[in-house]
């Protein structure tokens, strides 16, 4: 034991992030003797390490904030400045640059806390250290040299330099991409490919490597760092590259070992395991509390609230969680505290019973409880809604109408069951209508909330996947078979992920499995007279290869992926075993196969079908649900479409540019195609990019300009722009006095929203003087394009 034991404190707080600061203020306000230790020489190290001017978000905005620590969404500098001012104003007892080296529980209660050479006795300890932990080390000589850093402060300050970035995660790629172009950047990746980073970052990195702006060294490690250079050890040879700066972005060691040494227990062994805490944030060590990101919930606002609540709990007061009131509104059909309501709900709805109750609190923040009367429609077939629906009470009939056919009821779901997983998974339109049978209660969980739940609760995800498969079986093969009969078959299926342009099987191959397309797109083709005839393109929700399930039947066509696809594969042996158990199903199944075979023959007998369609598919236009096409043989290049687009949007920015994909006399310009499965919606932090039931994907006003959607759009159809400030007559005078509007270079994303707020539809089409601009939905592609395409034109 080093140092001297000072007077006994009521509370020691470890970590001066938002959670720790909030706890410190609450402790001070209640007259507790406390100290807050922070290892870094500044407050909030995680946010301090963000790049300059980075936007800090204040989600979830629905939850009220407890305590007085100021916090709202804004730039890194504003947030940090606000907190520093708060600490100064209230004189909080914060010891910066003071690392806590030991927390030892004492036999009679309380702790001995060693920090900065002194030992303090404390009745309670609150750990609010975040997950930054200690940055991982390379283990290579020279990594402590001054030009080696874990953090890029301001990309604008680095120009025309040799830079080496080590790592393959999001932050490594973000640093490399921020510096590429204006510097000579080498990215060192230990593995043979980038697997951990976001797909959009990986794509951009590879593109910029192809463009010569970035050099990526795969299967390479750093052998030695020297002043001005880095020695790399590759799979085949060793190279030395010039390096004035080296950034190590190889992650951090989570503080789990440190916590376990104090006696804190975790919920499991995996990376996603969290510390076991009671509802007062107390760990398995009495008196030791954990708050903030280290608990697995890394949102700043939640951390601030936990800081407030934990001190109240230490004082023996029962404090209602900040989200209690709003969650009670979201769960109106149960009584008691939210904890009791969630417990009840988990009993009633088996799929939710598989999720952690604390995680469900976050899921339910945005849930919409809805009462439906008898016969009322809940979702409608062909709508573009993509929420997930859980039946809390009553019954729901699922009705499906095949194209050109009569609507028929395919299932009746009871309380505790769920639906909507097909649209959620495939990103496509609703494939059935759901109608309330008698009065019913349905909880509608928005796409983003349910996806987050699926990401952290693998058992829930597996359940949803199985339901997806069973309902696909019911939809296509066994319409009259009950779910429980199909369960054994669904359990045997497994998920496979296949890259773009891969052949799944070739014509003539022995049939060994059939597939259900979970996401992506495949091409079904045959060889005839030495050339390929495309029979069809299948999008998510379809299945193929079922003839393989008949004995000794070779593949009648080849199937290859158009995009990266997820498929559910069912092997023939498993299917045979299932049919052997249910011989009565065999007859109906063979009829279905015959139906498919006839459809295939018809497609083959239609000469030339799909020619323009093939071109469109190749260029990926066809995945759009509302694509703008310009007939160049009519277009007089007057740009009135662009001017109209600028004219109808308040920000004066056009959402289209007359560059894009050309085929024959047609141009698919850079303008949003309203994709069936919009990749732009995947990763929007404030959920500002949404799709309405008609299919229009639009950006709401809460866009923070992070650029994720722009990066995720593979077609360059989202534009980042500086919004034009509203001008008035005397703007110039104000500009003279104030030196002009400083929006700090703020950007927002804009994209075509099909002029959803303008009467009469898209302005580009209405304002084309020669009728060259048209909008097409997938149903119109074939007929209308065939009528306007002129094939002798230049390609």
């Amino acid at each position: 034991m080093e140092g001297t034991v000072s007077e006994r404190l009521d509370l020691v707080i470890v970590g001066a992030g938002p959670a720790g600061l909030s706890a410190a203020h609450r402790a001070q306000a209640n007259g507790l003797a406390y100290l807050l230790f922070e290892r870094a020489p500044h407050l909030a190290d995680t946010i301090h390490c963000y790049q300059k001017r980075k936007h800090v978000m204040a989600e979830p905005s629905l939850i009220p904030q407890l305590g007085e620590l100021p916090f709202e969404a804004g730039r890194r500098e504003e947030v940090l400045g606000g907190w520093q001012g708060f600490v100064d104003e209230h004189g909080l007892a914060v010891r910066l640059g003071c690392e806590v080296s030991a927390v030892e529980p004492q036999p009679g209660g309380g702790f001995l806390v060693t920090a900065g050479g002194e030992t303090h006795e404390a009745a309670h300890v609150v750990v609010a250290v975040g997950t930054q932990g200690n940055p991982r080390k390379l283990g290579a000589p020279g990594e402590d040299l001054p030009h080696v850093s874990g953090r890029l402060v301001d990309p604008a300050e680095v120009e025309d330099e040799d830079v080496v970035v080590v790592g393959a995660g999001d932050s490594a790629l973000e640093v490399a991409l921020a510096l590429a172009g204006s510097n000579r950047v080498h990215l060192v990746v230990r593995g043979p490919e980038i697997v951990r980073a976001k797909e959009s970052l990986e794509r951009e990195a590879l593109q910029r490597q192809a463009g010569g702006e970035l050099t990526i060294h795969f299967s390479t490690t750093v052998a030695r760092v020297e002043a001005g250079s880095v020695e790399l050890s590759g799979a085949e040879d060793d190279v030395t590259v010039a390096a004035q700066r080296v950034y190590l972005k190889i992650g951090a060691v989570a503080p789990r070992g440190w916590l376990e040494a104090m006696g804190v227990e975790f919920s499991g062994q995996g990376r996603e395991a969290n510390p076991r805490l009671d509802h007062r944030y107390q760990s398995s060590v009495p008196g030791l509390h954990l708050i903030g990101a280290v608990t697995g919930r890394d949102l700043i606002r939640l951390g601030i609230n936990q800081g407030y609540e934990v001190v109240e709990h230490i004082l023996g007061r029962d404090v209602e969680p900040a989200d209690e009131a709003i969650l009670k509104e979201r769960l109106p059909w149960w009584s008691g505290t939210v904890r009791e309501r969630i417990a009840e709900l988990r009993r009633e709805v088996p799929i939710l019973g598989r999720a952690d109750p604390e995680v469900l609190r976050e899921t339910f923040l945005t849930v919409e409880p809805r009462d439906y009367a008898d016969g009322e429609e809940i979702v409608r077939q062909w709508d573009y809604t993509d929420s997930f629906l859980v039946i809390a009470g009553g019954r729901v009939a699922i009705r499906h109408r095949p194209e050109g056919g009569q609507e028929r009821q395919v299932a009746t779901l009871e309380a505790g069951q769920f639906f909507g997983e097909m649209s959620l998974i495939s990103g496509r339109r609703r494939n059935a209508t759901a109608v309330s049978v008698g009065p019913s209660r349905v909880m509608e969980i928005p796409r983003k909330a349910i996806l987050k739940l699926l990401a952290v609760a693998p058992e829930v995800k597996a359940e949803v996947d199985r339901a997806f498969l069973i309902r696909a079986f019911q939809g296509y093969l066994f319409p009259d078979l009950a779910e429980d009969v199909l369960w054994p078959l669904a359990r045997r299926a497994h998920l496979v992920t296949v890259d773009k342009d891969e052949v799944l099987f070739a014509e003539g191959d022995p049939g060994d499995a059939f597939y259900l397309l979970r996401s992506g797109m495949v091409k079904v083709a045959k060889q005839s007279g030495g050339r390929e005839i495309v029979l069809s393109y299948l999008v998510s929700g379809n299945f193929f290869g079922e003839t393989a399930l008949l004995p000794d039947t070779p593949r009648t066509a080849s199937v290859s992926t158009i995009f990266k696809s997820e498929l559910i594969r069912l092997d023939r042996a498993d299917f045979d075993a299932f049919l052997a158990e249910h011989p009565e199903l065999k007859g109906g199944f063979l009829d279905k196969l015959e139906e498919r075979r006839v459809a295939t023959l018809k497609a083959e007998a239609t000469p030339g079908s799909g020619d323009v369609l093939s071109d469109l598919i190749r260029e990926e236009v066809v995945i759009g649900t509302d694509a703008l096409i310009i007939d160049d043989y009519k277009c007089v290049r007057c740009s009135n479409c662009i001017e109209a687009c600028e004219g109808v949007h308040d920000d004066g920015q056009a959402r289209l540019s007359l560059t894009g994909i050309k085929f024959y006399n047609l141009l698919a310009p850079n303008s949003c195609w309203q994709c069936e499965n919009p990749l732009c919606m995947l990763d929007c932090p404030p959920d500002a990019i949404v799709r309405d039931p008609r299919g229009e994907v639009y950006i709401k006003e809460n866009c923070i300009g992070c650029g994720n959607c722009e990066a995720n759009c593979p077609y360059d159809n989202i534009f980042m722009v500086h919004p034009e400030p509203k001008r008035h007559l005397f703007s110039w005078l104000f500009d003279l006095v104030r030196g002009g509007d400083d929006d700090g270079g703020r950007q927002v994303a804009v994209k075509c929203d099909l002029c959803r707020d303008v009467d009469g539809g898209p302005a580009c089409v209405r304002c084309c003087p020669t009728g060259a601009a048209i909008r097409l939905t997938p149903d119109e592609y074939r007929a209308r394009l065939e009528s306007i395409v002129v094939r002798e034109g230049a390609v």
């Binding site: 009467d759 209405r766 020669t770 009728g771 034109g793």
Partner: protein, 276 residues
């Protein structure tokens, strides 16, 4: 082609029908001797109709920029503009009773003919040029060609750097051949870039430099030829684009002149009386 749009073909029939009606009325009135001049009853009816039509035709410029308007599509408006524009000239002709004594009225009519003629030229260009422009655009946009041109010019500059003064002079002269001069855009309208052949007589240039530089000069000439051809391709694209715009430089000023003359004519008619 835009005027072949089935959806908007009705406007040509509307124009034809109105013309037929006006002509029939004119012939009827003429035969009965009631039509003396533009101030007679039918003359006035035709004159007012033509004046209203001209004002409505001018309104096209407003409608084109009223992006939020739900008053039909702009394509429909342009079809109507073309056919009713042609009709306006015939209506004025009938309104005049083929008498052209009043200088203001005559001027207005001649300017109207100019407006209609330039409009017909524009319609013809809109019909025929997009197809030809698409042919020369193929896969390359103007921006892409410009980028290629810059790359070639940079390669030529690299070849020429450090060479003799003669070599340098040839390099400068070669570049100058494809450098746009003043009013190049307007010149393009009246000269066909395709007619000019690049590289004629260039072989003789080889004798002007030392033998040690000839091989590099030959490479420079190859680059210069490619540069010129690409430049011509860009010029052809630009020519078509300019043509698509240039007719408006006649059509719009003439239309404005027409407004002034029409106002003068109407003012004069009202002031001096309509019963000449």
């Amino acid at each position: 082609m835009f005027l072949s749009s089935a959806k908007n073909r009705r406007w040509r029939w509307v124009a034809l029908l109105l013309f037929a009606a006006a002509l029939a009325a004119y012939l009827w009135e003429r035969a009965s001797g009631r039509f003396q001049h533009g101030g007679s009853v039918l003359g006035l009816v035709l004159g007012v109709a033509a004046a209203v039509l001209v004002v409505w035709l001018l309104f096209f410029a407003v409608r084109k920029r009223a992006y939020k308007s739900t008053l039909g599509t702009l394509e429909g408006w342009l079809h109507a503009h073309v056919w009713l524009g042609v009709l306006s000239a015939f209506l004025v002709l009938l309104h005049s009773g083929f008498r052209f004594e009043d200088k203001v009225a005559l001027s207005a009519f001649l300017v109207l003919l100019g407006v209609v003629a330039t409009g017909v030229l524009g319609a013809y260009l809109y019909q025929s040029l997009p197809r030809r422009l698409t042919g020369v655009e193929s896969n390359l946009t103007g921006e892409e060609i410009s980028a290629d041109l810059n790359r070639m010019a940079a390669s030529m500059a690299r070849l020429a750097s450090g060479r003799s003064a003669d070599f340098q002079r040839i390099h400068v002269a070669l570049l100058a051949e494809s450098t746009p001069r003043a009013l190049a855009g307007w010149r393009l309208l009246f000269t066909s870039p395709q007619a000019r052949e690049g590289g004629k007589g260039w072989e003789g240039l080889l004798g002007r430099v030392e033998s040690g530089e000839r091989e590099d000069l030959r490479r420079l000439l190859v680059l210069a030829r490619q540069h010129k051809e690409l430049h011509q391709r860009l010029a052809v694209q630009q020519r078509y684009r300019n043509l698509l715009d240039a007719w408006l430089w006649l059509h719009v000023p003439l239309s404005l002149a027409l407004v002034v003359l029409l106002a003068a004519h109407v003012g004069a008619a009202l002031y001096w009386g309509i019963d000449w």
